[in-house]
């Protein structure tokens, strides 16, 4: 709320241009405070001097002096643990940041609180201008008196000074700083050594790269201020943009509480005036298209990177490339089975699009086939594995791909299908595998041997084999370093592992674990971060995926014909989506370009595209009409 007299006084708009003309400005306050010899800004007499200085400078504008408002207590509201002074100082800070200098000054006068002492702004100014000795001289005034802080601050400033001198080519002066300022601080010899080694880089560009530092004209002085902040009391020197930091934290909290969060961050979805919450109706939970061309169970699906094509594969020994029209309106979208890739001798299990979407890889038993994804030409058949190939993953640089197999082999291939190298034979039969997007890790899951079927179960035709009790752990996760091919982490697990995916930030691996669980592993610590439960998985290869904005969701197929979706960070089960016919939902895949669309495939020979309900359709829930036109848009004749 702006005060009316400020609004209506014409000279104010002029005075905004120049702070020296302005009334009770911050700078004038500093001068008064300094001359009075204050070392701490929280003096009660400050508002007085402030008011008088305002009067002196601003007399011509006949701006009435602001009188101080005296309030009881120290809290902003009686019932809240928020300190009024802290709050007001943050408001002053943010007002000044955006340029409401006058309002900030008025608030300082009215409240009796000032943002900071003049020493702080002087100090800040010195750092940003590179007046190092002046900055150091101000340290005692900032309350930096204890030895440890003083030492750290001096080192940080000395280091910046040294680097800037080097950057400017003043090697002798830099050396002088190193010898007379940094060395006497008794810095670790390693640190001193690495600093001194920078002298060799005569080119400033090399220097900056080597030192991880962006030069005097870059952000390095701001960064230095940020580092110095840690050693100066925050009451004295408030961290920059502190109010904005607090508001961002509030937004983050609201986002974390928004289970259906699936919208990009923008001021419309995050108003300060109300808590953020995404509309559940915008969540993809309605089937908008059913793709029916496969003649048998569909086992796997994969989106092209551009999100416009969906590949599917399964028991009918074909893979199909579907073009999913990019019209945003489902009713006008055309979904066509563009290419049907036959020439597979066995059922097709894996699919992998090259990074540019020009090549689609498929596997049928021990064979890998490379297809031209544009015209469906079979480019090559790779016959290297002895047993079923269960995983294909393109390298994040697009230069090739890796295959993993039940024969324990992991092979790296060039993008033209030439074998590049073999990895050490895995101790387990690999059932799935994924490369982290940051290229650092290869995550494999598999089994050391397959447990015989349970004689009492539904597959009683094959009773248990003798002598299988004292065997080592049956199933494992093995994480490798990509660069060295060395094992980083091994995690033994009880149940059969059928699928692994890695989050966009390369931090988490999502692993389907029979019976009935999906596990989220932290790849850095190797710890189980979360379990998602509810879906059914006993005997079959069921796959899961991350999805939505910031990989906010986890989705999985299930043997009970439903699709399960959880909130990733809390594990809360959000949706159990029915629609597929009898049998398992074998895999789910979120569209990489459209956070509001994913696909699922099932034993019922179909693929379903899931989206948020179009307004006119939501009336007709739960089931969308199923048309007969094979693979075509299913809304025809219904809307």
């Amino acid at each position: 709320m702006r005060s009316p007299e400020l609004d209506h006084e014409p000279p104010m708009s002029v005075s905004l241009e120049s702070t020296s003309e302005a009334g009770p400005s911050y700078l004038t306050l500093d001068k008064v405070a300094n001359s009075n010899g204050y070392t701490n800004g929280k003096s009660a007499s400050q508002p007085l001097s402030n008011g008088s200085s305002a009067g002196l400078h601003n007399g011509a504008h006949s701006h009435p002096p602001v009188s101080r408002v005296k309030l009881p207590g120290s809290r902003l509201y009686e019932d809240l643990l928020i300190d009024r002074e802290e709050y007001v100082r943050l408001v002053i800070q943010s007002l000044r940041d955006v340029g409401y200098i006058e309002s900030a000054a008025t608030l300082e006068a009215e409240s009796g609180y000032s943002l900071e002492t003049g020493y702080v702004s002087e100090f800040r100014q010195c750092i940003l201008e590179g007046s190092w000795s002046q900055a150091e001289a101000l340290l005692p005034r900032l309350g930096v008196v204890d030895e440890t802080s003083l030492w750290a601050v001096k080192f940080l400033i000395g280091q910046q000074k040294y680097l800037e001198l080097l950057e400017a080519g003043k090697t002798a002066a830099a050396l002088q700083v190193l010898r007379t300022e940094l060395a006497p601080l008794n810095v670790g010899s390693d640190q001193l050594h690495s600093l001194s080694s920078l002298i060799m880089f005569s080119n400033p560009k090399d220097l900056c790269e080597r030192a991880g530092w962006d030069g005097a004209s870059g952000t390095s002085r701001d960064d230095l201020l940020f580092s110095l902040q840690r050693h100066i009391s925050s009451t004295t020197m408030i961290p920059q943009r502190r109010l904005a930091t607090l508001l961002s934290q509030a937004q983050l909290y609201q986002r974390q509480q928004c289970f259906y969060h699936n919208s990009p961050a923008n001021p419309q979805t995050f108003s300060l005036f109300m808590d953020h919450e995404c509309d559940k109706e915008d969540f993809p939970r309605v089937t908008t298209t059913i793709l029916e061309v496969h003649t048998d169970e569909v086992w796997n699906i994969a989106w092209s990177h551009d999100g416009r094509y969906l590949a599917s594969a399964g028991k009918d020994k074909t893979a199909i490339i579907w073009r999913i029209g990019h019209e945003t309106e489902p009713t006008s979208r055309e979904c066509v089975a563009e290419l049907v890739l036959r020439d597979h001798e066995y059922c097709v299990g894996c699919l992998a699009w090259s990074l540019d979407d020009s090549i689609l890889l498929t596997t049928a038993d021990q064979l890998i086939k490379m297809w031209n994804a544009k015209d469906g030409t079979l480019l090559r058949t790779l016959d290297e594995h002895q047993e079923t190939v269960t995983a294909l993953s393109w390298l994040p640089d697009g230069s090739g791909f890796i295959s993993g197999s039940l024969d324990r082999k992991i092979v790296t291939w060039d993008s033209d299908g030439k074998k590049r190298d073999s990895w050490p034979i895995s101790p387990m039969r690999i059932t799935d595998m994924a490369i982290s997007p940051d290229f650092s890790r290869l995550v494999t899951v598999g089994m050391t041997y397959s447990s015989p079927p349970d004689a009492s179960g539904d597959r009683g035709s094959s009773p248990a084999l003798a002598g299988d009790d004292a065997r080592p752990p049956r199933n494992q996760v093995i994480v490798y370093h990509m660069d060295t091919k060395e094992v980083a982490i091994t995690i033994p697990l009880g149940g059969e592992l059928t699928s692994v995916k890695i989050s966009e930030d390369s931090q988490f691996a999502l692993i389907n674990h029979a019976p009935h669980e999906v596990h989220l592993y932290d790849l850095v610590s190797g710890r189980l971060a979360r379990k998602f439960t509810g879906q059914h998985q006993g005997h079959h290869v069921i796959r899961s995926c991350f999805g939505g904005i910031d990989n906010n969701f986890v989705a999985s197929g299930s043997e009970d014909a439903n699709v399960y979706i959880w909130h990733r960070d809390t594990g809360v089960l959000l949706e159990v989506l029915s629609g597929h016919g009898n049998g398992s939902v074998n895999s789910v895949a979120w569209n990489p370009q459209n956070e509001r669309m994913f696909a699922s495939c099932s034993d019922d020979s179909t693929i379903r595209i899931w989206e948020s309900a179009p307004p006119e359709i939501s009336m007709m829930e739960p089931e969308p009409p199923i048309g007969k036109g094979k693979g075509k848009q299913q809304w025809d004749g219904v809307i």
């Binding site: 047993e387 041997y449 094959s462 084999l465 290869v541 034993d603």
Partner: protein, 110 residues
Amino acid sequence: MGMKYRQYLAGERIYGCSTCKTHLATIHSMISRAFNGQHGRAYLFDGVVNVVEGDPSDRQMTTGNHTVRDIYCCKCGQKMGWKYDRAYEPSQRYKEGKFILERNLLMDVQ
């Protein structure tokens, strides 16, 4: 049915399909070597994996009448032997639920 990988066995000796090396049984589950099939010597196993069973039919064998199903390798479809559903002679009942694999169609695999 859903997707399933073929099963892999572990043990000292693993018998696989001679056509495609698919794992079928281990020596641990072998009950007897004293059987004969269409291709000569055959083994009786307590359990086998990776086979598809055909329809039941009654067959007169040297040890009497039996209800059996032919079993096929699940990968290549080769007929590997049969499974006993029922033995009519009480003395032959021990074979019920057990499997015959023909030795000449097997090979040692890893």
